[in-house]
């Protein structure tokens, strides 16, 4: 029996020693103050360290300009690369690699002057030929990047990427020509007014032919198999783990760049992200709705409004939604103010419109100025009378419809609220939720297999057209059998006749009015916002409504110590 006691004691000691070993490791960690993990790197500098620490939810899928297709990659590319122009604080295009440009009288030919001091991070000059090469590489028939379509405004692009067309694959027919090393001429199909802003988008960045070819299959797969021409260079890329951007000494405007280092770690869990933020290892964290209440009184709490719109798509394949009174009833039945305050709670704004506020303007006038409050605001009584008129026409007193929504916790929560509001305002209506993962939802939408759907859209380019042309008859994003000739004609003329921009502007405003007021084809819900915590010492990180989310070119750290 004595022996067994001894074994027991030995075992116990072993367990304790294991735990002690773990704990002593911890104490070492506590000794050097890790929160400012970047301290001491630049102690000789009098000012405080210009280091920004960030997190991203996923590994970067692709940094190849010709293939990038996701927000995280666009975000990095926007800061390590530069197009002809770049977006500033208010999303206005400011000169990037191009120092200036001229437009021909008919608005179709843009001549960009490339600045002489623009350089790649390996010292090569950035020339007009780098743009031509990059666009050719993107549109080449072997490249298969899914963002080719965004170049569609350039002459012959749609023919070059279409296998049915005789011009297929003939990139030399592209309307982009290098007149000399510092002059780039781009010819458009139509004189679209937003082209300069579009050149800030990742797909329009230049690529260094000599470098691309020297890397072969390895191009853009690692930090050192890519050359950069933006404010920063990618100095380290640990896949699935982290990446680091440091200031680019070859950048033509390096004097404007104040940050020395940007560290980005992959953190997939919001709870973890917050724990890192609270231990000063992360300077900015996006809050999912369940955390908003907990943090909304925090001094670092902020909200941003994005240019993304959410609305209900009502599928007219279903006879119930073929009825305009039913659609009008749906548009007016939901208390959107309470929805954005109570359910979303993240800076989202209730919307009765499709083209977001503060997104596009002409001569300083916002697109929304004419119909500031939109159409069919919440009005339960009006909704009820429209609903009753609709039911009478349909000869029904009860209606059951299915509501297609995303399967995330937040969309189900939102959809439950919307369904309850609809059922409350519209007697005799029964709504069943059909939550689906993103790809499934898209599939059902494309096949038109839904009654009504919670859908959203963000802009592809800086023009109200990116929202309005979705619903033309048989359009790729219509998928709800909506059709109105008046609306189609207005969109068509705004797309092809760009001689009078003021008139075009009015036509687009009218098209929105027809879509929403006359036809109530979709029921707008809200303009999306985002809640976040930002450390007070992070200054001038600019948020964009189009393209990449943030620019760090002008950002700096002040007051951290």
């Amino acid at each position: 029996m004595k022996k067994s006691k001894l074994t027991f004691l030995m075992a116990l000691t072993l367990i304790f020693s294991l735990f002690l070993a773990a704990c002593s490791g911890g104490k070492d960690e506590a000794k050097d103050p890790k929160p400012e993990g970047n301290d001491g790197t630049k102690t000789e500098k009098p000012a405080e360290p210009q280091v920004l620490n960030l997190t991203e939810v996923a590994e970067l899928p692709s940094l190849d300009v010709s293939k990038a297709e996701d927000a995280a990659s666009f975000q990095v590319l926007n800061n390590v690369m530069e197009g002809l122009y770049r977006l500033d604080k208010t999303d206005k295009p400011v000169p990037g690699v191009a120092e200036s440009h001229e437009v021909s009288e008919d608005g179709k030919v843009y001549t960009f002057k490339i600045r002489k001091d623009a350089k790649w991070s390996n010292g090569d000059p950035v020339t007009a030929k780098d743009f031509v090469y990059s666009y050719h590489r993107t549109l080449n028939k072997d490249s298969a990047g899914s963002y080719q379509y965004i170049m569609g405004d350039i002459k012959n692009v749609n023919k070059i990427i279409n296998p049915e067309d005789p011009m297929y694959g003939k990139v030399e027919e592209l309307g982009v020509v290098a007149k000399d090393d510092h002059t780039l001429e781009i010819t458009l199909e139509n004189a679209v007014p937003y082209f300069v802003g579009l050149t800030s988008f990742a797909t329009f960045y230049p690529q260094n032919q000599k470098f691309v070819e020297s890397q072969g299959d390895k191009y853009a797969l690692e930090a050192n198999t890519l050359v950069y021409n933006g404010p920063f260079v990618l100095s380290e890329w640990k896949h699935e783990e982290s990446w680091k951007m440091v200031k680019n000494d070859q950048y033509w405007d390096k004097d404007s760049v104040k940050l020395d280092e940007i560290n980005v770690n992959v953190v997939k869990d919001v709870g973890t992200d917050l724990n890192l933020y609270n231990t000063n290892q992360n300077d900015l964290v996006g809050l999912s709705s369940e955390y908003v209440d907990q943090y909304k009184d925090n001094a670092d709490f902020k909200t941003e409004t994005e240019a993304t719109m959410w609305y209900l798509k009502m599928n007219q394949k279903n006879p119930v939604f073929k009825n305009v009174n039913v659609r009008k009833a749906f548009s007016q039945a939901i208390d959107k103010e309470s929805m954005v305050k109570v359910i979303l709670n993240n800076g989202s704004v209730a919307a009765n419109y499709l083209v977001p506020a503060n997104f596009t303007n002409i001569d300083g006038e916002d697109f929304r100025a004419k119909y500031k409050d939109g159409f069919h605001a919440f009005d339960a009584a009006k909704a009820k009378s429209d609903w009753e008129a609709g039911l009478k026409e349909l000869k029904k007193d009860k209606v059951e419809v299915e509501f297609l929504v995303g399967d995330t916790e937040s969309s189900i929560k939102l959809a439950t609220y919307i369904a309850a509001q609809l059922e409350k305002s519209l007697p005799g209506l029964k709504v069943t939720l059909n939550p689906q993962p993103f790809k499934n939802r898209l599939d059902l939408e494309n096949k038109g297999q839904y009654d009504f759907e919670l859908a959203g859209w963000g802009p592809d380019y800086q023009d109200s057209m990116t929202f309005l042309d979705m619903f033309v008859t048989d359009g790729g994003h219509n998928r709800m059998e909506y059709s109105n000739k008046k609306y189609d004609d207005l969109i068509k003329s705004a797309k092809t006749d760009l001689s009078d921009l003021k008139k075009r502007w009015e036509n687009l405003q009218e098209a929105e009015r027809i879509l929403l007021e006359e036809d109530a084809a979709i029921a707008p819900l809200y303009q999306r916002g985002r809640a976040l915590l930002v450390k007070p010492y992070v200054k001038d990180v600019f948020k964009h409504g189009f393209g990449a989310d943030y620019s760090y070119k002008w950002a700096y750290i002040e007051g951290k110590q």
Binding site: T7, E69, S146, D460
Partner: protein, 309 residues
């Protein structure tokens, strides 16, 4: 022995072939395309892209092409991470998962075996009861709850250990502890039951009557015999730990493979779905074989070649 192993490897390849085929056809039933911006593309654009990736060919043709490449050891190129070979992708991520898995397996098994043995020896005492309670808790508390608690109290409040990331050994401690909980609980329960059973066997009585010390009886006779069932569960447990650490990897931001597997399915990254499935299957089947061989080493009564007698 050699012949047996060869035969088993033959079966292994057959199993893998079946898994690959079934997964391939099931995967093709997933809706959608592998493009991140699918909602932006018109039908024509989608057709063009699918054509370029060879995804518009009939599924049987795609299947033959894939299997031919697979037979030559080519797992293909990821769609989601454009241009990156699937084998590189798995290689880059398996390191962290394997390290985390092995470390928690070792920690968990050692602690579990000790606890289980002690509980069995001190059968029906307070030690036994508290070990039982502890292991029931360990099995019933989901590891993500335990992980979040550890992260918050040890990482944020006490600041003894890093909250997340995967840079130094200190960073591996919290995820390993969180992950080993279930191993401790499982192995200690098993070990306790087995030891109790073994202690009642005739050969233990023989050993004791030979005058062997209690410690010697436990270590050389009881533990060795009790190990066999434990090893059986250890195999699958090891594979689970190496591959199925998804939640822990997520909470502690470990750059592992678990998360990758799930995201490849969500993004329709066909080559990665195939690659990771085959990798996991190979690992699983391999471990089962290894366990069978280990049996023989630990217990001569089930020597594999015994069939010939």
């Amino acid at each position: 022995m050699g012949k047996y192993v060869l035969k088993r490897i033959g079966y292994m390849l057959l199993t893998l072939f079946i898994i690959a085929s079934v997964t391939f056809f099931l995967m093709k039933l997933l809706p959608g395309s592998p493009f991140n911006n699918e909602d932006r593309l018109s039908d024509t654009q989608k057709e063009i892209l699918l054509d370029k990736y060879g995804l518009n060919e009939p599924v049987p043709v795609q299947y033959v092409k894939y299997m031919t490449a697979l037979a030559q050891g080519d797992l293909g190129i990821s769609f989601q991470f454009d241009g990156r070979p699937v084998s590189t992708l798995i290689g880059e991520r398996i390191g962290a998962s394997a390290f985390l898995g092995m470390q928690s397996l070792i920690l968990g098994t050692v602690l579990g075996l000790i606890l289980g043995t002690i509980a069995a020896i001190r059968h029906n005492s307070w030690v036994d009861y508290s070990a039982t309670v502890a292991s029931v808790l360990g099995l019933s508390i989901p590891s993500f709850v335990f992980a979040s608690l550890l992260q918050y109290y040890v990482g944020v409040k006490l600041q003894w250990l890093p909250v997340a990331f995967w840079t130094t050994w200190e960073h591996t401690i919290l995820p390993s502890i969180a992950l080993s909980l279930v191993v401790i609980a499982t192995t200690s329960r098993f070990m306790r039951t087995e030891i109790l059973e073994v202690l009642g066997q005739d050969y233990i009585i023989t050993a004791r009557s030979k005058g062997l010390s209690n410690a010697r009886v436990i270590v050389t006779h009881a533990i060795r015999n009790a190990m066999i069932p434990v090893i059986t569960i250890l195999g699958p447990l090891a594979v689970n730990l190496i591959t199925g650490t998804l939640v822990i990897e997520r909470i502690f931001s470990v750059p592992g493979l678990g998360q990758q597997f799930v995201s490849s399915i969500a993004t329709n990254d066909y080559p990665v779905i195939m690659g990771t499935t085959l990798f996991y299957s190979t690992l699983f089947i391999g471990v089962i074989l290894l366990v069978d061989i280990l049996y023989g080493i630990i217990d001569p009564r089930i020597r594999i070649s015994g069939g010939k007698e």
